[in-house]
Symmetry: C2
Subunit: 174 residues, 2 copies
């Protein structure tokens, strides 16, 4: 059975909507997802980098994120044909471990928690495929990287790209 | 550069001494490491399994464990010749994430925390070597398993075995 490793933030968990909402509220701004094409919020507002990162360091930030559209249904279907691992770069936000674990248990309860991986450098992941929104994780990944579209990565080229979970489904099951 | 993945509990962190001390205190027993040859404490006292496991589920249990003799010095030396990752089956004790992370930061501060991996099923680990005290992790591991001696595994045969960190040093650097 081939194995698919799946990133959390920006792929199954919508951190961006919450980050933007908090930022706009606290700074009286109206930045939209459109404004973030090709960049992350910290690149758009570099002088506020610390404040932006602090949202993500808040222990409960990741606990109530929205689930990305169709990800539950498609991953459930994929899990009948592939071994599924959730591989998240949690070491960047060590305060988030518990929230991320609880979120996965709540929204992806059909997965075995022995298949959750909290890591940093994803070159440690032994899988046939890695679905991720950050191209840096593909550099030393031994399998096939699949770039999940997120505003910040829309101008990246040279990668297999999927724009949503229906396209993931088509890639693996068609 | 070849990569060595290293388990925490029973390999760099001495959970057994603390577990035994707590158990002996609470149950007025005098079980020694000698009594645990070939078995774990839950196999020696199966009717107390829940209580024994509860020690490990206590969020701070892993925070103040003793460092296994010579592990710091040898890993520091190995890190000059190999890529080192710490790979711990933390999903078995999700309450332990923070304590484990902080313990690693305290005692192995010379390692990059991007090389810490909290996982369950270690077949996800992409490394050339895995030093571990549980043979079950070698079953589907793609590299070379190296069994680190612990009382519970002394009767396991058919594995490359190291009895202490000086033997790890000899294996990799001689």
């Amino acid at each position: 059975m081939k194995r698919i490793a799946i990133d959390m933030d920006g792929v199954i968990a919508d951190y961006l909507s919450k980050q933007l909402a908090l930022f706009n509220r606290d700074h009286n701004e109206n930045i939209t997802v459109e404004d973030l094409k090709g960049k992350k919020l910290i690149e758009l507002r570099p002088h506020l980098k610390d404040e932006i990162m602090n949202y993500l360091k808040e222990p409960s930030f990741f606990r109530d994120l929205e689930v990305m559209k169709d990800s539950q249904e498609v991953i459930k279907e994929l899990s009948e044909h592939y071994e599924i691992f959730i591989t998240t770069a949690a070491m960047e936000f060590p305060t988030s471990f518990t929230a991320k674990y609880e979120w996965l248990r709540e929204h992806f309860s059909f997965l075995n928690d022995m298949n959750f991986v909290f890591c940093g450098d994803k070159s440690i992941i032994n899988a046939d495929y890695l679905i991720d929104d950050n191209v840096r994780h593909f550099k030393r990944f031994s399998g096939q990287g699949i770039l999940f579209t997120s505003p910040h990565n829309v101008y990246e080229t040279g990668y297999v790209r999927v724009n949503n979970w229906q396209e993931v489904r088509d890639y693996f099951l068609k």
